[in-house]
Symmetry: none
Subunit: 211 residues, 4 copies
């Protein structure tokens, strides 16, 4: 049975791959068309220009990404907050690992001051901030941390969660580690779990992995 993959999806896949490797500005619509084996005109036709294609990628990523955070935030009412936090961490790592090309491109483009990117991402990032705050504040409970400290903790957590994917090629070449690998998530999760326990919750020993 022949499965007809829609042109639109083929284009998105090719775009993610190339944006990831060469960056958005470094990739031409012709490159994408050639890789997707479609007519270049189709891209403007389907996505209303190259920009629209990038927007599509960004939205695709953030919608899924924030869903994982939201899930765990809404579970805070019923479950141990540190479990929720850790599960969120695990889910985000898994999601990024499964979509490592998309993740890399998103985090990189976000680091630009591009007008377009900011218009789309700024509200997502504010929401992300809100959700992380909820999770972390619930997890630490006590007043050991100042507000400013919490900001820094979140920034650190975010650093740890995104860097391996943003610098996927660095991990590969310098450390021979593959972020898209199933085992990477398991292994790397352990280290973040340690960091949460030791640095954030100030426990001496980590016990079990949720999920």
């Amino acid at each position: 049975m022949k499965v007809k993959v829609s042109t639109k999806e083929t284009i998105i896949e090719a775009a993610i791959s190339l944006f990831n490797i060469q960056g958005y500005d470094g990739t031409s619509i012709r490159d994408i068309a050639k890789k997707a084996k479609v007519n270049p005109a189709n891209i403007s036709y389907y996505f209303e220009g190259k920009q629209g294609l990038l927007e599509k990628c960004l939205v695709l990523f953030f919608e899924a990404y924030l869903t994982y955070l939201e899930e765990e935030v809404s579970l805070l009412a019923y479950e141990r907050p540190d479990y929720c936090l850790k599960r969120a961490v695990y889910k985000i790592l898994s999601f990024q690992s499964n979509n490592h090309l998309l993740s890399r491109l998103v985090w990189r483009e976000v680091s630009l001051d591009s007008q377009i990117v900011r218009e789309i991402t700024s509200s997502y990032l504010m929401k992300e901030r809100f959700l992380y705050k909820k999770l972390i504040e619930a997890a630490i409970q006590e007043n050991t941390y100042s507000i400013s400290d919490i900001s820094f903790l979140i920034i650190q957590l975010k650093s740890l969660l995104t860097m391996p994917f943003l610098n996927g090629q660095y991990l590969r070449e310098v450390w021979n580690i593959f972020p898209q690998d199933r085992y990477f998530v398991e292994k790397y999760y352990q280290h973040i779990d340690d960091w949460i326990d030791a640095g954030l919750l100030q426990k001496t020993k980590m016990v079990n992995i949720p999920i």
Copy 2:
């Protein structure tokens, strides 16, 4: 006495600023020339093309950056290794803070699979890996960590050190934190110091800041 700032330097400054904001591929040689108030032909003339300009930026960054690591590695023979590590961390944060535009652009371009960038950076990154390893292995001494663990620790440390600068504009807009600010380094250093003590050296309490 009139100080004539060389055309060459003016160009580099303009380039760093624009590459930082728009990315390398998103910046045209004319943008740079206009910002530097020089003739576009000068850029090809001085740097043998746009690419040469990027190379210059990368080299500029890595030469300085690795010097700080080297300094501390060479001090390992004479001083407490954890002090060396922490001092290296502090120096790197300071350096990046003082050169936040350059830092951001370098770490972003490194995240691309661009042939050019890799040719220049790969040896620097291998050297960086070597130096971090030296510092960390000396600091932890005991055998609590496997080789694989050490890799992950370095990756984490690097994440913590670079992310705030790579995502300078995110910190600014979402958290109202300014990585180029003097106080940022002081503050942020504390958190990494904590992380080193708790997560890496597994001490319970950090006491003083080595500069």
Copy 3:
């Protein structure tokens, strides 16, 4: 009873409107399709391409336009020639006023050296010349005018008849006069009537308007 306006007519109306505003070359088939709320493919389907649509417009205009001239020429045998001429003038003004969009576009496109337009219009324009000549020669009767003079008179008459419509938007913006307005025809006819009497027939006073 539901009146179904045919797709074909909808397209023509949209085309006249847009060709009029933006010119033939400045209007895309998609503009027309969007305005007419039909599928772009229909235009090629019904008119065998964009060109066919323009041809349709030109033919539509000239067939009607020349009919008015012909009517009056054929009445020359039975009525006062100056009445016929004036009635022709009046009819042409009315026709153009009622179809001011179409008129504007036709006279403009005729001013181009476009191969296509000329192929269609040249025979119409020769016929127009013949009819005007008949009317004017009959009206002036006497030999006061040389052949060359008559040419110029016709050119002048044609100028006076077409300009207000060709420059509809100029009249609107600069003079606040609306050529599609019923009163415009009445008023403007008076002035041309004066011109015919004074300049062409060299009468001192005109009295009544023949419709």
Copy 4:
């Protein structure tokens, strides 16, 4: 002695010629570049896009055109107003005859509702209106005409002055008359002079041609 005609001028000449024949929208930058034997990129380089080229043409035309009107308006204080009016007419005819390609293209593009064209021309056209009004009101002196009549007279005069040039190709093909011909101006001026005397000034006989 070799005279180096500047690239810029070569482009303008080619543009006038082609815009004239094919219309602005119907002419591609490549057409112009080929005709002017320059690189297409030069056109965007010199005129900041195709639009800039059209603007240049429009400004070129109107600046010269209005100068003739202004000259005669400023002479109204010292000379017979009907002479001034007639001399203005003559000058405008001459100017258009000498620049018949440019004239045709300008009057045609003015008949479009194009945003760009209107932005540039609207102020020129208001000024033109003002100057014509001055000239004609001075010439007719008496109160025989209502304000509305004067509007119509100016519109008619303008029609007579511009039509032969706008429809240059019509005159050529249908009447074998060449508006760029020196004799055309002389001949055609006579007819407008007649019209001014008979229709506007209501004199019975014209006597001499000023200039």
